[in-house]
């Protein structure tokens, strides 16, 4: 198993959010995390991204505990949360350049322009991110996702604010990522229209027993 989770549990404010969560993920697989608002989807994803330490349980990446090998794990994953992780006062293009600098890879400007074109952002290339619409900001965040190679994508409600075409782009992106041997963990509270869902984790119903 590339990624395996063993008996994960987490509580906040003396309330058990979820417990005894175990699953595994192989190359080319996608896990959809579903559940109602407040059932701990975001928290679970932040644990899997290495930001939050779980109360109990282990997260193993190729057999190694991610919290003991955070540097190796960080290079293999990318995380997109509710915030887009942009610098609001940099332009669209500068934001991508900064993302490239931050991830330490070399990238031709042609490749950047190409991705902006695919994400339909080439018109607003010189616009500061703060002036973009919510959907455009999300598109920019997704453009960054494609730019930087990562084995495992951890996406928290990636379709938020996206229009119909944007959702299609996202579904295509995910399909291509999985076809290339990538993995994805996607949280959503509604049914995804992407046909590539392989595993589903339903949060809430189980945790509610312990509340």
């Amino acid at each position: 198993m590339a990624l395996s989770i063993h008996h994960l549990a987490f509580q906040r404010n003396n309330k058990l959010l979820f417990s005894d969560i175990s699953f595994g993920l192989e190359a080319g697989e996608m896990l959809q995390v579903r559940g109602e608002n407040g059932c701990g989807k975001s928290t679970l994803l932040r644990i899997l991204a290495g930001y939050i330490y779980p109360e109990t349980g282990r997260v193993l990446w190729h057999g190694k505990n991610i919290f003991q090998h955070l540097d190796d794990y960080s290079e293999a994953i990318t995380y997109l949360g509710h915030q887009n992780g942009l610098k609001p006062h940099l332009t669209v293009y500068e934001n991508l350049k900064l993302a490239v600098a931050l991830s330490g890879i070399k990238m031709q400007s042609d490749a950047l322009k190409n991705i902006l074109h695919v994400m339909k952002l080439d018109q607003s290339e010189k616009t500061q991110a703060v002036y973009l619409s919510a959907g455009q900001k999300r598109r920019l965040a997704l453009a960054r996702l494609q730019l930087i190679p990562a084995r495992l994508w951890i996406l928290d409600e990636p379709a938020t604010a996206l229009d119909h075409a944007g959702r299609h782009l996202l579904a295509d992106m995910l399909k291509q990522h999985l076809a290339c041997g990538g993995m994805a963990i996607v949280a959503t509270h509604h049914d995804s229209d992407s046909g590539s869902v392989i595993k589903t984790l339903e949060l809430g119903s189980k945790a509610s027993i312990y509340v």
């Binding site: 930001y51 939050i52 949360g81 915030q83 610098k87 500068e94 600098a101 931050l102 330490g104």
Partner: protein, 219 residues
């Protein structure tokens, strides 16, 4: 790395209030003193080191608390933590660009304010050197505090309470150097100790800031 610093500076420069606020604060505080105390040249000259240093310290404190705030709100901090670059290095980039945009303007304007307080030319020179050595320390120590409060929404006076004790030695040696210069005493000792403070902070503060950021995000 150079690109990261460049974009950090660019993003600050595009928000004029961010770097103008400490500068204006610094100028207002210092210019109020001659108005309130009166045109007594000897008295102003005697007070100048303390006044300028305290104003610089408070101006730094004013801006440093927000060092990671916007990044945390926008989710950029999450990405910094996932970057393959060492977090210590990224923190250092942030601190350096903050110093360049928020502290360097204070240092550049300080001779003018010294002139306002009748500071003699030799002391002006010592003032600039002491600020050049001292403000990086203030910024680096402030970054630790800013990282510690990054997860707290209403932090109020928590940051000053946390880091003011650490600022006191810098204030003592910074003004000490100026007082010594006014008394025609050797100043190298003061400046050497401030240089040592600075090197010590460069070595350890970014590391501690990185650890504090990881704790701040883990909640």
């Amino acid at each position: 790395m150079f690109n990261i610093i460049r974009y950090e500076i660019q993003t600050t420069m595009r928000q004029a209030y961010s770097w103008l606020t400490p500068l204006l604060f610094f100028m207002i505080v210092v210019t109020l003193f001659p108005l309130a105390i009166g045109p007594d040249e000897a008295l102003l000259q005697k007070m100048a080191p303390g006044v300028i240093w305290i104003a610089a310290l408070l101006a730094t404190l004013l801006s440093i608390g927000n060092l990671f705030r916007a990044d945390a709100e926008e989710g950029y901090l999450d990405r910094m933590l996932l970057s393959p670059h060492p977090l210590t290095l990224l923190v250092l980039c942030k601190v350096m660009s903050h110093w360049l945009t928020h502290c360097l303007p204070l240092i550049l304007i300080s001779p003018l304010l010294g002139f306002l307080l009748h500071l003699p030319p030799r002391e002006e020179y010592v003032l600039i050197v002491s600020l050049l050595l001292g403000t990086p320390v203030l910024t680096l120590l402030g970054a630790i505090g800013a990282a510690l409060i990054v997860g707290i929404r209403h932090h109020g006076l928590l940051l000053p309470v946390l880091i003011m004790p650490l600022y006191v030695p810098v204030l003592i040696f910074g003004t000490g150097a100026l007082t010594a210069a006014a008394l025609q005493q050797p100043i190298t000792g003061y400046l050497a100790i401030m240089g040592a403070f600075m090197l010590l902070c460069f070595a350890f503060a970014p590391l501690l800031t990185g650890i504090a950021l990881r704790i701040g995000v883990n909640q």
